[in-house]
């Protein structure tokens, strides 16, 4: 898959767009789109008859409607398609109600579940999504329907934001945190406070005691992994299992979550950040079919 990337490095992902040059969208019956406006990144996915045709992934600006439009424009780039060619668009994510051209807004949990089913296939049962400002655990059935879920967006512990606070404290770039945390001979005891504010004081004390940064990071990544495992346990974990979202790229967290659970997370074939937008586009297809049937 050819990727057009820019050099902007944030949360260890690059802004990108892609479309399938071998597909002729003009022959399609249903052209649908999903637009996921998150707190950190926005994605647009365009599907032709339920098949992935194009996508874009970029940072969210300060203005949600504008971010949605930009992500859409970028997905359309080079395709010859215009917004008017899209029959049905769904908005999702935290800014979902601010997608100007969306016919419907759908919660990110439903879209994420559906998108994970598309990306990983019908055997996917449990999805952990760790974003910049929230953490979601979702159980899905073989059709991608939500069986149970929980979403934690109240507390910064266990989110990208919490990790950012630590990266700042230690003066380590956020993209380096995961690898650095693995550079310890032995796992230290985990940071005992869950609360980011208190964990930060704990870490400062450890630094003053002379702990190297790697060890402090290891202690925090362990705590964070333990915390999200706790969330998952509330729903029960069944394989196949996948981790998505920004923190999925933090090897220090992923490896520790896998270790504590004793299972491996599936490796995705596509960029997991577009899972929500894929789900949105799939719902758009289904909703349009439903609408047509009624007529």
């Amino acid at each position: 898959m050819a990727e057009d990337t820019t050099s902007k490095d944030y949360w260890r992902w690059t802004e990108s767009n892609w479309h399938d040059p071998d597909m002729d969208w003009r022959e399609g019956d249903i052209i649908s789109a999903g637009v996921d406006v998150g707190s950190v990144s926005s994605q647009t996915v365009i599907m032709v008859d339920g098949k992935l045709y194009a996508y874009s992934n970029m940072r969210t600006g300060s203005d949600s409607p504008k971010s949605a439009e930009n992500a859409m424009d970028w997905a359309l780039e080079g395709t010859g398609m215009t917004l008017d060619d899209i029959h049905y668009a769904v908005g999702t994510g935290y800014g979902r109600v601010n997608v100007p051209f969306a016919k419907r807004a759908i919660t990110e949990i439903a879209c994420h579940a559906r998108g994970a089913n598309f990306m990983y296939g019908p055997t996917i049962k449990t999805v952990l999504d760790m974003g910049g400002q929230d953490c979601k655990a979702i159980r899905v059935d073989q059709k991608g329907k939500v069986v149970s879920f929980l979403m934690n967006d109240k507390c910064a512990a266990g989110t990208g934001r919490g990790m950012e606070v630590f990266a700042d404290l230690l003066g380590v770039h956020i993209t380096k945190v995961g690898e650095m945390s693995l550079q310890v001979d032995e796992e230290p005891p985990m940071v005992s406070s869950t609360c980011v504010v208190f964990a930060k004081s704990e870490a400062s004390a450890l630094l003053r005691e002379g702990w190297p940064k790697e060890k402090v990071l290891a202690a925090y990544c362990l705590a964070m992994a333990h915390r999200v495992v706790g969330l998952l346990e509330r729903l029960g974990i069944e394989e196949d299992f996948a981790i998505t979202g920004g923190i999925a790229k933090n090897i220090g967290i992923v490896s520790r979550v896998e270790k504590e659970l004793g299972i491996k997370a599936l490796k995705p074939s596509l960029d997991t950040q577009i899972a929500g937008a894929i789900g949105g586009a799939l719902f758009a297809t289904a909703l349009l079919k439903k609408e047509r049937k009624k007529k």
């Binding site: 109240k154 910064a156 934001r161 606070v165 003053r208």
Partner: protein, 257 residues
């Protein structure tokens, strides 16, 4: 009998020396990395304030999160017990004691005899304690005292959505960017915090009179918001952060309930 109470809190170590219910001396030292040194520092400060030699103190009781760290305490008491003993000694008519410290909030219901009937604790989340206002003051780049004072001049209630100290910091920053007046942000911070404390207090049943103790009682902005939320006045002692240490000292003398 001369006794001492040592309150080893999350932020400060506080010591009270008392005789027959009267405070002779007090000492406060920031809880540093070396807890023993901080405890010793606070004890020495209190002895100096009381102008006493250490052998005059007949009994020492410890309280606070680090109460097990006091080497030669004769006994230790929970924060709830010490809070109630100290507050009821100061305000015998109080039936509800609210203690808001740096890392914890507590609400305690006492009966006519000053016995603890019920208590609830907000702990391990900075959003429910003084750490929250401290973090917000930092985000606003204001000293904590200023945050409290400013809050009183606000005329507008701005809602705050974040319920986490970390996310609230970002919210404060975006409020600043949105040109919200600083005093209104200050009030929003205290209102949010007061709501959490009130809800905790309602779990034990709020009965007048209400005594407010702990370091956060020194923040007039918080007090104002809390009184508005509780729809009643609260009683605040002169040295609210010492009440728990005072309670421990009273208990050591057999004066507490």
């Amino acid at each position: 009998m001369i006794t001492a109470g040592i309150d080893v809190g999350a932020k400060n170590v506080k010591v009270i020396i008392q005789e027959d219910g009267k405070i002779l001396g007090k000492g406060l030292v920031l809880a540093g990395l070396d807890t023993q040194a901080s405890i010793k520092g606070a004890v020495d400060a209190a002895l100096k304030d009381a102008d006493l030699a250490s052998d005059k103190v007949e009994k020492v009781f410890a309280t606070g999160a680090g109460r097990k760290d006091v080497p030669d305490a004769d006994d230790s008491y929970t924060e709830v017990g010490a809070d109630a003993a100290g507050a009821i000694h100061l305000y015998p008519q109080a039936r509800t004691v609210i203690d808001v410290g740096a890392e914890e909030g507590r609400a305690i219901r006492v009966d006519e005899r000053g016995k603890v009937v019920d208590f609830a604790i907000n702990e391990r989340c900075a959003a429910g304690a003084g750490a929250f206002t401290e973090a917000m003051a930092r985000a606003l780049e204001l000293p904590l005292e200023e945050l409290g004072r400013l809050s009183l001049t606000s005329t507008k209630a701005v809602p705050m959505n974040a319920q986490c100290a970390v996310f609230a910091e970002s919210e404060v920053v975006s409020l600043i960017h949105a040109k919200t007046e600083k005093q209104d942000i200050a009030r929003a911070v205290h209102d949010a915090m007061a709501t959490r404390i009130t809800s905790m207090a309602r779990r034990v049943g709020v009965k007048p009179d209400i005594a407010l103790i702990g370091g956060v009682a020194r923040n007039p902005g918080f007090v104002d918001s809390l009184q508005r939320d509780l729809e009643t006045e609260v009683l605040i002692p002169e040295d609210p952060e010492y009440v728990s240490a005072f309670g421990a000292a009273l208990l050591a003398a057999g004066l507490g309930k």
